[in-house]
Amino acid sequence: MDSIGFDLVAFAFSTIRVMTPLLFASMACMIFTKGGIDSIATEGIMLMCALAGAVGAWMFKSAFGGLMFGMCIGVFLSFTFGYVTLTLKANPVLAGIALNILAGGLTIFIIYYLTGEKGSTQSLATPVLPSLDIPVLKDMPTLGRIISGHNVLTYVSLIMVAALHFFLYKTRSGLRMRTVGENPHAAESVGLSVMKYKYLSLFIAGSLAGLGGAFMSLGYVSFFSKNMIAGRGFIGMAAESMGQGVPGGVLLATLLFSVADALSVRLQLMSMPPELMQLLPYLVTIVAIAVYSYHREKKKERRQQTD
């Protein structure tokens, strides 16, 4: 391999790895938004779940146990957020910011309590989730090297996109959840329990954020370190709105972010100026949003002309 050549296989593989936590985040944001709930707390929930995953894996001596524990904490926090904003009617943005800040401090407190250190849980021996080699695919020349051998949660995240699409558009509960999110009054007027479907969306989104958080500490790396989510929850929010809130669109938007992120790492190796390369993910965001709004406005104009 030429040492300055661009290794496409490694790049594609790394894109998929980068995408996994982002995809969980953006799917969580999507379900929050579909249920009419502000998704700003995703970042904090993921951070807490990343810690819960590592601590759970250490407590139960099993990565799967950690994953389950992370998901439970995700649902618990999501429900807490829902209770505060829906039942107690707190301002969701403020409550979300409070949860994010709380997560930043509380996680450090907990790891200090458990390990005596404030940076990471590396002194706790934690098992990690395995990587999967897909039987037939792995023997294919290039594609196999790209698609096979990822962490098991990576495949879960992709299956989740299809599952959520099915749930939202092919099931009665999905339809009702969307209705509640879009117009709670209309939903109530036809006898739907608004709270029930809001809590359903909190449940699903909380579990997804839990999976994403746990992936960070049980798959991506093998420990929890402070602030390790590093804005992935917020990127999930951006991907959700860029993908217009439909699973396929959100998947594409997330993929775009991941490509930009992985590219920014790889291009630095090719003597590209690092200042510019680090800008890339943000540049892509701005350009994508600009293009998207331009198209939307054009469409609106055309519609007005035909009216």
């Binding site: 790394s14 450090i108 250190e117 790492v265």
Partner: protein
């Protein structure tokens, strides 16, 4: 009457109190960020704990990364007048401290990891570390490893450097590293990447993986917490890491032997030793306030870690050559460029000279 008694008690206790203060020197360490980074802040903490053992009155405050809280904290501490020295990390808080120091000319400040303009701040003393000297030795080691027959070394003469973000101090590490490597192997290539974060361990792992896949067999991450991700990448791929700021392999000892073994050595800034030194100078009345000192290998302010993992994992012939490089630095035989106060064109030229 009651009031009078109370007042007397208050006055007496205050008088005794101040006498007690005057006896024991005191210092407060303001940690910008949190302890537990297994690196810089922890090293500073060890330093002040050393002073505590020497009879100092010590307090440690962690003020997080929210810069809006920094100035009020320094103001409050200065106003209280309880502390002889306020010690903090200058690479983050230098501007804040310079401002506050003007308002409290009686309060003495010690900044580690920064330099100040001479004479401009008469109550501030700054310590900088010749990280380029430690990095020079590490660069020599890296070049020797990549050209060796060690298990994780490949054919290519490529080594890596990963910074958290672009910062003059990080560039100083880089420049020394390159010059050390070039001194051993003029043909060496150094891949340079930045993570863009000091916290994002996952991205750190991603960046390190990319470098290893691109042919580097030993990588030197100067990226605080995010560097832990690089260690993990090296562990997975069977490659090597040079740790930074504190003895990182010893931190993994007993809990994660595989990680400890990937870290061949660490480039140290001996913040701890430098603070103990500053404390001693202060009690002797010899601390040069208004100025900064740059401590290198010679003054024990910088260097690389010699621990059991270094002895075990690095072949003896490489260790001998590394020792020679170190002696060259101590004897002043090599001129190592410092990125601090040097024009970007100069450092860029050095970085470009080893681009793959």
């Amino acid at each position: 009457m009651k009031k009078l008694v109370l007042l007397t008690i208050l006055a007496v206790s205050l008088a005794f109190g101040s006498v007690a203060w005057a006896k024991d020197p005191s210092a407060v360490l303001v940690v910008t960020g949190q302890l537990g980074d297994k690196s810089f802040n922890d090293s500073a903490n060890r330093g002040v704990q050393g002073l505590k053992a020497a009879g100092w009155n010590i307090k440690v405050i962690e003020i997080g990364r929210d810069q809006t809280k920094w100035e009020p904290t320094f103001m409050d501490l200065s106003e209280s007048g309880d502390w002889d020295l306020i010690i903090t990390n200058g690479s983050n808080a230098i501007e804040t401290v310079q401002e506050v120091s003007k308002e409290f000319p009686e309060q003495k400040f010690v900044l580690y990891d920064s330099e100040i303009e001479k004479g401009k701040y008469p109550n501030v003393y700054a310590i900088s570390y010749k990280q380029n000297e430690g990095s020079y030795v590490a660069g020599a080691l890296a070049a020797l490893v990549t050209t060796s027959k060690m298990e994780g070394a490949n054919e290519e003469k490529v080594i890596g450097f990963i910074g958290g973000m672009q910062h003059p101090v990080i560039t100083d590490f880089l420049v020394g590293y390159i010059e050390g490597a070039k001194a051993v192997e003029p043909e060496i290539k150094v891949i340079v990447s930045y993570i863009g974060s000091w916290d994002d361990t996952a991205k750190g792992k991603e960046v390190a993986m990319a470098q290893f896949q691109q042919g580097a067999d030993i990588v030197f991450p100067a990226a605080e917490q995010a560097g832990l991700g690089c260690v993990e990448a090296a562990k997975e791929l069977g490659k090597y890491i040079i740790g930074v700021d504190s003895d990182q392999s010893m931190l993994f000892k007993g809990t994660d032997e595989a990680s400890a073994n990937t870290i061949l050595t660490s480039v140290l800034k001996n913040v701890d030793k430098s603070l103990v030194r500053a404390g001693q100078l202060y009690t002797e009345g010899k601390l040069p306030f208004g100025d900064f000192e740059s401590l290198g290998i010679k003054e024990d302010g910088a260097g690389i870690a010699y621990n059991e993992y270094y002895e075990k994992n690095v072949p003896a012939e490489i260790r001998e050559k590394v020792e020679l490089a170190r002696e060259d630095v101590v004897a002043g035989k090599v001129a190592i460029t410092s990125a601090l106060g040097t024009a970007t064109e100069v450092t860029d030229a050095i970085i470009n000279s080893v681009k793959p």
